[in-house]
Symmetry: C2
Subunit: 95 residues, 2 copies
Amino acid sequence: MIRFSVFYPSTEGASFDHDYYRDKHVPLAVKTWNLEGAEIDRGVDGPYVAAVHFVFESPEALAAAMSAPGTGDVLADVANYTSIAPVLQTSEVVG
Amino acid sequence: MIRFSVFYPSTEGASFDHDYYRDKHVPLAVKTWNLEGAEIDRGVDGPYVAAVHFVFESPEALAAAMSAPGTGDVLADVANYTSIAPVLQTSEVVG
């Protein structure tokens, strides 16, 4: 399995709408990519103010999601909750 | 619930023993902190070569784990698999 994580670094002067993120944005991504769900983090301590973790069955499934027709809308929606530039991480889940 | 994540940034000249990490280190942490398990990532693309995610029931449970008698042994074990300085993140799981 492949974990695709998106991290939002704490950024001076930038805001992050956690409610919109949880209630609108992540559900849009989950629906667009036909996933069962995602795990959403609200930062308490450390470099990130928020994060989300999506799990895909394979690297091919992740690649297909990234090039899906609705993915442009998902990316365009980011401006509705933050101006923070996200950090992207793809990993193999090994345990 | 609280997610405690440990990220290992790709670092020039540093190695990371993924097998030791999965088979020895993370199980030691899980046992020491009386957890049911943990999720282990091996980086494929992005800033981190590896990561682990532990889930605690509360901030108090995480604080208790950090000050538990065996935690010193867990930290001392890091030198057995990498010289990379980890990045720590504590988050509230909100969805």
